[in-house]
């Protein structure tokens, strides 16, 4: 099974990243960025419907909760009404699962292949050798030039810039994906906890991981933000609406200042 995983997923990813490295003037940071964008775009047909479905489900939460409350004692009727609602709105409640399951091995393989190619210890290089046996062209690139500005891509960021970026982009993406006005106070509390906990956790992990992997996380978050922005704007929202969801207080203050100015006239 491990051998199959390596042959089907890891090895092609390794070859792709090395080919890009060669093509982009031996700049592995750029290769990671380009390959991350490429992988996200390739998995877009799977992720986009899932994200749209999830977004729609969130917007329907008031209606869903109303049905659950109304038929709290009749589970069968509740289930029927919910399915009818989903059908009417064109939502597949399980539609998000299969695409996510399919893209998960792709993402995992990509992450593992970056970690392997960034090998800068003898044991790690020894492990990499089995993937490159017989390919003299790729082997000639090893060991990679892992410098990128202040970073050594094989080692953690000494200035913690990337972990901070990971925290911020993770938080931003989460904020965009959660509804602005949840009706359930418990759901609001849950969302707030996740918005803080998850980004902080990934930021902490990034402090210990090679900075090449941190670049991958930052870029994948940014792509996720752009995708979510497109979904939101296709749903009729403006940039201001999106901004209001993330920083409602700031948006309110801006509106108030505008009104005061008008009043002073």
């Amino acid at each position: 099974m491990g051998q199959l995983w390596n042959v089907v997923f890891i090895q092609p990813m390794i070859y792709a990243s090395l080919w890009l490295y060669q093509f982009l003037g031996h700049n592995f940071a750029l290769a990671i960025m380009v390959l991350t964008v490429a992988v996200r775009l390739l998995t877009l047909p799977l992720t986009l419907p899932a994200q749209k479905s999830a977004k729609k489900q969130q917007e329907l939460q008031p209606k869903i909760q109303a049905i659950q409350k109304k038929y709290a004692k009749d589970k069968e009727r509740q289930s029927q009404e919910l399915m009818a609602l989903y059908k009417e709105e064109g939502i597949n409640p399980m539609g998000g699962c299969l695409p996510m399951l399919i893209q998960l091995p792709v993402i995992m393989a990509f992450y593992q292949s970056i970690a392997k190619v960034l090998a800068d210890t003898p044991l790690a290089l020894f492990s990499l050798s089995s993937f490159l046996t017989g390919n003299a062209n790729m082997t000639s690139l090893i060991p990679l030039s892992s410098k990128f500005f202040w970073l050594n891509l094989a080692r953690p960021d000494p200035w913690y810039v990337l972990p901070v970026l990971v925290v911020f982009t993770s938080w931003f993406q989460q904020k965009m994906m959660t509804p602005s006005t949840p009706t359930d106070p418990q759901a609001a509390s849950m969302n707030q906890t996740m918005q803080i906990t998850m980004p902080l956790m990934f930021g902490f992990l990034t402090m210990q991981w090679p900075s090449g992997l941190a670049i991958y996380f930052v870029v994948t978050n940014i792509v996720g933000i752009i995708i979510q922005l497109v979904i939101d704007m296709q749903g009729g929202k403006s940039l201001r609406d999106v901004f209001q969801n993330i920083w409602p207080q700031a948006a309110t203050d801006t509106g108030t200042r505008g009104k005061r100015r008008k009043g002073k006239k």
Partner: protein
């Protein structure tokens, strides 16, 4: 609490546990280095995967001393810990001088340890990790480092005599040829240099450039310098001028130092094979297939070639024909050089087990740690 909230809390908990598992907890930590050993004057000096040097009685395997004496524990997230030396892992085999044994650590420092007491007498810090074994020649210790330098140090005091900037990580031990007054240096930047032993000045007009990184020390065969490269080739260059004489192509990275006996060079490759090559022209005399990468330097004695492989096996082969004479199975992969000394074959495997074998029959004489020492 609603079902959705329960699911979300469950998902959050699952993710946190998975992330913790990915970072440092959840199972035995893998080896952070590969071990190496040297034998001198009845003592086995083994640098094991715990990041410490163990001095063992060569006849019985009993422990004489361990450096450093105390083992530190490195903490992972939430206190999940793995054993490690306070000094850092060790990739290189120790080198023995007069009263000192020298070992380079992955924490960038070379330690000179008293052979009797097991206490460091001096240390020499470099700018980056040390992978290559140091080399002792006369009153000088030659040391290569990932800080791209090769150093010549006074063996007694550690005072620097000269240093050479090689332009890339140096993971291969320098090859010292006192007869010609030269030291050969191979780098991960694919280059090989010949330096003057007295002051480290380059002697070739230009460095020899291979097509792949070079991680193992070269060997001399008369006026030829032979070494392997990650491009899968075994190169032979003129030791005096650096001009290429011949190459031999294998199917995997070559990460072992050639063993030259008379007019034959023996070398292992990560294509799982051991090759016997004619030193004059590089023609293959025979090859032997194992079931794993052959990364280590081979050993030789009385017409028998000894090979350790990633498949956990030690093979004893007839040096003329390559026919197997016996095999021995260790508990773990063998990626480190074998040492034949004082009528015993010493092997160390990736789990830090040291084996002393009878070189004629392959039977185990002792192993370390001894059962009562575990």
């Amino acid at each position: 609490m609603t079902k959705i909230l329960k699911k979300k809390w469950g998902l959050l908990l699952t993710i946190v546990v998975a992330v913790l598992f990915m970072t440092s907890c959840g199972g035995a930590a893998p080896a952070a280095s590969w071990p190496g050993l040297t034998v001198a004057e009845g003592v086995v000096y083994a640098a094991l995967t715990d990041g410490r040097v163990h001095a063992l009685n060569a006849d019985t395997g009993s422990e004489k001393w361990v450096f450093p004496a105390e083992t530190g524990k490195s903490s992972g997230f939430l206190g999940c810990s793995s054993p490690s030396s306070t000094e850092g892992p060790i990739y290189a085999a120790p080198a023995v001088g007069d009263d000192l044994v020298y070992v380079g650590s992955y924490n960038s420092t070379l330690y000179a340890i008293n052979t009797v007491a097991g206490i460091a007498q001096w240390n020499f810090p470099t700018g980056d990790r040390i992978v290559a074994a140091p080399v002792v020649a006369g009153d000088t210790v030659y040391l290569a480092s990932s800080d791209q330098h090769v150093y010549a140090l006074d063996a007694a005091t550690g005072t620097e005599r000269w240093r050479f900037q090689a332009g890339h990580w140096v993971w291969a031990s320098p090859l010292v040829d006192q007869k010609s007054g030269a030291v050969y240096v191979a780098t991960m930047g694919r280059e090989v240099y010949r330096l003057r032993l007295s002051d480290g000045m380059p002697e070739w007009e230009e460095a020899f450039t291979a097509q792949g990184a070079i991680a193992a020390a070269p060997a001399l065969a008369g006026d030829l310098l032979i070494f392997g490269s990650f491009d899968g080739q075994v190169y032979a260059v003129d030791a005096g001028t650096g001009a290429e004489r011949w190459t031999f192509q294998t199917d995997g990275w070559v990460w072992s130092t050639p063993l030259v006996i008379d007019d034959t060079a023996y070398i292992g490759s990560q294509d799982h094979k051991v090759y016997a090559l004619n030193v004059e022209n590089g023609m293959k005399l025979w090859e032997f297939q194992t079931n794993g990468a052959v990364r280590d330097t081979l050993a030789y004695g009385d017409g028998t070639l000894y090979v350790g492989s990633e498949d956990k096996m030690v093979y004893a082969l007839d040096a003329q024909t390559g026919k197997p004479e016996w095999t021995f199975t260790a508990e773990e992969r063998i990626l480190s050089p074998l040492v034949l000394a004082e009528e015993t074959l010493y092997v160390v495997s990736m789990n830090g087990q040291v084996y002393a074998l009878n070189p004629v029959s392959g039977t185990q004489v002792w192993r370390y740690p001894l059962p009562e020492q575990k």
